[in-house]
C-alpha cells in the first residue's frame, strides 16, 4: 500500500503532540480551565455594579434631588439605583457622596471611572474621554437612567475633561504598564532562558565546573533586573516628556517598590522554570502564571469592576501589588511608609518562591 505523504506528515505531528502529555495539558486543558474558571467567576453574576463618585451632594442641587427621590441608600451611605434592562441586564449604579479630594483619589485608583457634580443647576460629568470605561459608563448613565426615568439629570449633563495629573487614563495606564513589563520581562526573559538552557545542556555544562550554582541564577537575575530598570526609567522619561506624567511621590519609595517587584517576579520566574526542559510545557506554565494576573490585576482597566468577593484576592496578586504601589507613588504622591506593607509582601513572595524554586531546581 502506498501511503499519502501529506497524510503521514499530519499523522506524525498529531502523534507527537498526543504523546507529550504536558503539551496536551497546557495547550488544550489549560485554556479550557481558564475559560471555565473565569466564566464561573465573572459571568455567573447576572448584575453589574458601577461606582460613581458624587461631590457636593446634598447641596440642594438637581443631582442630589434626583438621587434622594429615586435611589435607595445602602448601609455604607451610597445611593443605589437599579436598572433592569433587557439587553444590559441588571445594572446597579452606586453613587457615593464624597468630598472632592477623596473623589479624585478614588478616580486615581480606578475605583471610580468618573465623578459627578453640579454647576449651576445642571449636572456635570468629570471624566477623561481617553478612558473607554469612563465613556461607556457615562453613556450607560445617560441612556439607561435618562430613558427609564424620563429625566435629563444624566442625559442632559455637561462633560468636563478631567485633567488633574493622576486622574487621567494615561496616569492610570503608565504605572500599570511598567509593572506589567517587569512581570513579562522576568517571566519570559528569565523562565524561558532557563528552560532553553536546560534543554540545550548548557546548565548542565556549567555546573560540571567549580562554579557556584546560585551564581548562575544570580547572574541571570541581575542582568534581567538591570534591563528592567533601564526599561522602566525610559518609559517614565517618555511618559514625562510626552504625557506630562510626574512622579508625585517619593523617588526612594518608587525604587523600593521597583526592587521588591523585581524580587517577587524573579523568584516566581525561578520556580516557574525549575523543572521542565520542554519549551512547549514551559510556554504553558509561564502563561498559567502570567495570564490570570494580566486579566485580573487591573493593568488596562480597573479591577474594581470584578465581583467584590474577588477584590481582596486580586489585590494580593504580585502584579496588582506592584501596579497599585506604583500608581499610589506616581499619581497620589505616596511615600515609603504608604507602600511598606506591599513592598514587604512582594519581597516575601520573591524570597519564598526563589527558595522553593532553588530546592526543586533541575539543572539537567
Amino acid at each position: 500500500m502506498k501511503r499519502n505523504e501529506l497524510w503521514q506528515l499530519i499523522i506524525i505531528h498529531f502523534k507527537e503532540l498526543l504523546r507529550e502529555p504536558g503539551v496536551l495539558f497546557w495547550g488544550i486543558g489549560f485554556p479550557i480551565l481558564m475559560a471555565w474558571g473565569l466564566g464561573i467567576a465573572f459571568t455567573g453574576e447576572k448584575e453589574t455594579k458601577k461606582d460613581i463618585a458624587i461631590v457636593n451632594f446634598g447641596e440642594q442641587n438637581k443631582l442630589s434631588r434626583f438621587l434622594t427621590d429615586h435611589a435607595v441608600m445602602d448601609e455604607d451611605g451610597r445611593y443605589l439605583l437599579t436598572i433592569n434592562d433587557p439587553v444590559f441586564g441588571k445594572n446597579i449604579f452606586r453613587f457615593e457622596p464624597l468630598d472632592s479630594l477623596d473623589a479624585t483619589l478614588g478616580v486615581k485608583r480606578g475605583i471610580y471611572q468618573l465623578m459627578m457634580d453640579n454647576k449651576g443647576d445642571s449636572t456635570v460629568y468629570y471624566l477623561d474621554p481617553a478612558n473607554p470605561e469612563a465613556r461607556l459608563l457615562q453613556l450607560q448613565l445617560a441612556t439607561l437612567i435618562g430613558e427609564r426615568h424620563e429625566d435629563d439629570t444624566f442625559s442632559g449633563a455637561n462633560t468636563i475633561t478631567l485633567d488633574v495629573k493622576g486622574t487621567r487614563y494615561i496616569d492610570f495606564l503608565v504605572p500599570g504598564l511598567i509593572a506589567m513589563n517587569i512581570m513579562m520581562a522576568c517571566m519570559w526573559g528569565m523562565s524561558w532562558t532557563i528552560i532553553e538552557r536546560r534543554k540545550g545542556n548548557m546548565l548542565r555544562r556549567m555546573i560540571v565546573t567549580p562554579v557556584r550554582r546560585q551564581n548562575i541564577l544570580l547572574g541571570l537575575m541581575t542582568a534581567r533586573v538591570t534591563m528592567n530598570f533601564v526599561e522602566a526609567a525610559l518609559l517614565i522619561l517618555f511618559a514625562w516628556i510626552y504625557f506630562d506624567i510626574e512622579i508625585q511621590g517619593s523617588l526612594a519609595a518608587l525604587i523600593m517598590v521597583f526592587v521588591a517587584g523585581n524580587i517577587a517576579f524573579t523568584g516566581i520566574a525561578v520556580i516557574t522554570s525549575s523543572r521542565t526542559s520542554n519549551t512547549e510545557v514551559g510556554n504553558g506554565i509561564i502563561n498559567f502564571v502570567n495570564m490570570p494576573m494580566m486579566i485580573l490585576s487591573g493593568i488596562f482597566f480597573s479591577y474594581h469592576n470584578f465581583p467584590e468577593w474577588s477584590i481582596p484576592f486580586i489585590q494580593n496578586l504580585p502584579l496588582t501589588l506592584l501596579a497599585d504601589s506604583m500608581r499610589s507613588i506616581i499619581n497620589e504622591g505616596a511615600g515609603v511608609a504608604a507602600v511598606l506593607d506591599k513592598t514587604l509582601i512582594m519581597s516575601l513572595i520573591g524570597f519564598v518562591t526563589f527558595g522553593l524554586g532553588l530546592k526543586m531546581f533541575k539543572w539537567y
Binding site: 545542556n201 548548557m202 555544562r205 556549567m206 565546573t209
Partner: protein
C-alpha cells in the same frame, strides 16, 4: 606495589525503570592512561560516565576520584575533571572568545589561558564568531577547549566526534594525542567508532547491555578471542574444490561465484608462507592479495554474535 588509581569505581549499578543501564561494573583509571568505552547505542557508556562525573548517583557501588568520594567536595572534583558532553548548545549569540572567557572565570583561570586554549583547539580564526555560526566540528572543538581550561588531570569525553566528518574527527584526535604526549592527561572516552578507540586509547573496554564484555589493548583483545588474520586473494583461473579440501595447513576457502579466495591465519608468520607455497605448488598465479588484521568489530562479533557497526549505523 599498590597502584593508585585516579578513578576507582566498584560495583556500579544504575537502573532506569526496568532497564539495567549499568549492571555491576568495576572501573579504574590510571594516571596518563587513555581508556575507551566502546559499545553500541544504549550499552550504558553515557550512564557510566555520568556517574563518574557526579551527574547521576549510582543505585549501588562507590566511586573514588583521587581516593575521595564524589560527594565530599564536588567543586574540588570539577577542578580535576575536564568534561565534554555528547552535545551542548552554547549561547547562540555569544562568540567563541566570550564563551571560553565565561568558562575560564568558573575555573579562575587568567586571560592568557583563554588564548592558549583557543589556539590549542585551532579556533583562532573563529574566535569572534557567534557559536551558532560554528560547524559541528568547530563546536565540538570549542566544547573540548572548554574542558581543557583547567588543565584537567582527567578528561571525560562523551562521543566527542559523533556526527563529524573524517577530517574534523582527525583534528580532534590530533589534539587529544598532543595532550597525552605533552600534559600526561588521562582520558575516558566513550565512542562507537572502533578506529577512534584503536587510534587513541591504550585500553579498550567493550560494553554491551550495561556490562563490560572485555577489556585490554586491541592486540590483547584479539589474541584473547583467538581471532585469525584474513588474507583475501584472486588468482588467474580458479581453484578446484578438491584441491582446497586436500591441502594441509591454514584454512583456505574458494568462493566460486565471486572468484575470490579467503585464508584465515591464526599464526601469520607460519600460515602466510604455507598459503604462498600452496599457490606456487599448484601453479596458481596471484592477481590480487589483501591481508586484513582483526578489528574491534570482529571482537564484538565473536562476543555477542552481532556486529558493532550494524548496531551503531
Amino acid at each position: 606495589m599498590v597502584t593508585e588509581y585516579l578513578i576507582d569505581a566498584k560495583g556500579l549499578h544504575k537502573h532506569f525503570k526496568k532497564v539495567k543501564a549499568v549492571d555491576g561494573v568495576d572501573f579504574a583509571l590510571e594516571k596518563g592512561e587513555y581508556v575507551a568505552l566502546l559499545g553500541p547505542n544504549g550499552a550504558g557508556k553515557t550512564t557510566l560516565v555520568e556517574m563518574i562525573e557526579g551527574i547521576r548517583t549510582p543505585d549501588q557501588g562507590q566511586i573514588l576520584v583521587r581516593g575521595r568520594s564524589l560527594n565530599e567536595d564536588k567543586s574540588a572534583l570539577y577542578g580535576l575533571l575536564g568534561i565534554s558532553f555528547q552535545e551542548t548548545r552554547f549561547l547562540e549569540k555569544i562568540t567563541v572568545l566570550e564563551t571560553v572567557r565565561l568558562f575560564a572565570s568558573f575555573y579562575k583561570q587568567p586571560d592568557e589561558k583563554i588564548g592558549k586554549v583557543i589556539h590549542l583547539v585551532g579556533l583562532e580564526d573563529k574566535k569572534d564568531a557567534y557559536t551558532k555560526n560554528l560547524s559541528g566540528g568547530q563546536r565540538q572543538r570549542l566544547a573540548l577547549g572548554i574542558s581543557l581550561l583547567n588543565d584537567p588531570e582527567i578528561l571525560i569525553l562523551d562521543e566527542p566526534t559523533t556526527g563529524l566528518d573524517p577530517s574534523a574527527r582527525r583534528e580532534i584526535w590530533d589534539i587529544l594525542l598532543k595532550l597525552k604526549k605533552n600534559m600526561g592527561t588521562s582520558l575516558i572516552l566513550t565512542t562507537h567508532y572502533m578506529e577512534e578507540a584503536t587510534h587513541l586509547c591504550d585500553r579498550i573496554i567493550i560494553m554491551d547491555k550495561g556490562r563490560f564484555l572485555a577489556e585490554g589493548s586491541l592486540s590483547s583483545l584479539i589474541s584473547r578471542m583467538n581471532i585469525p588474520d584474513v588474507a583475501l586473494f584472486t588468482v588467474e583461473g580458479t581453484i578446484p574444490d578438491d584441491l582446497v579440501l586436500k591441502q594441509d595447513g591454514p584454512d583456505i576457502q574458494w568462493d566460486r561465484a565471486k572468484g575470490k579466495g579467503r585464508c584465515e591465519m591464526k599464526n601469520v608468520a607460519s600460515d602466510m608462507p604455507l598459503l604462498f607455497t600452496f599457490l606456487e605448488n599448484h601453479n596458481l598465479r596471484l592477481v590480487d592479495f589483501e591481508h586484513t588484521k582483526p578489528t574491534l568489530d570482529d571482537v564484538f562479533l565473536s562476543m555477542t554474535g552481532r556486529r558493532l557497526s550494524e548496531e551503531t549505523e
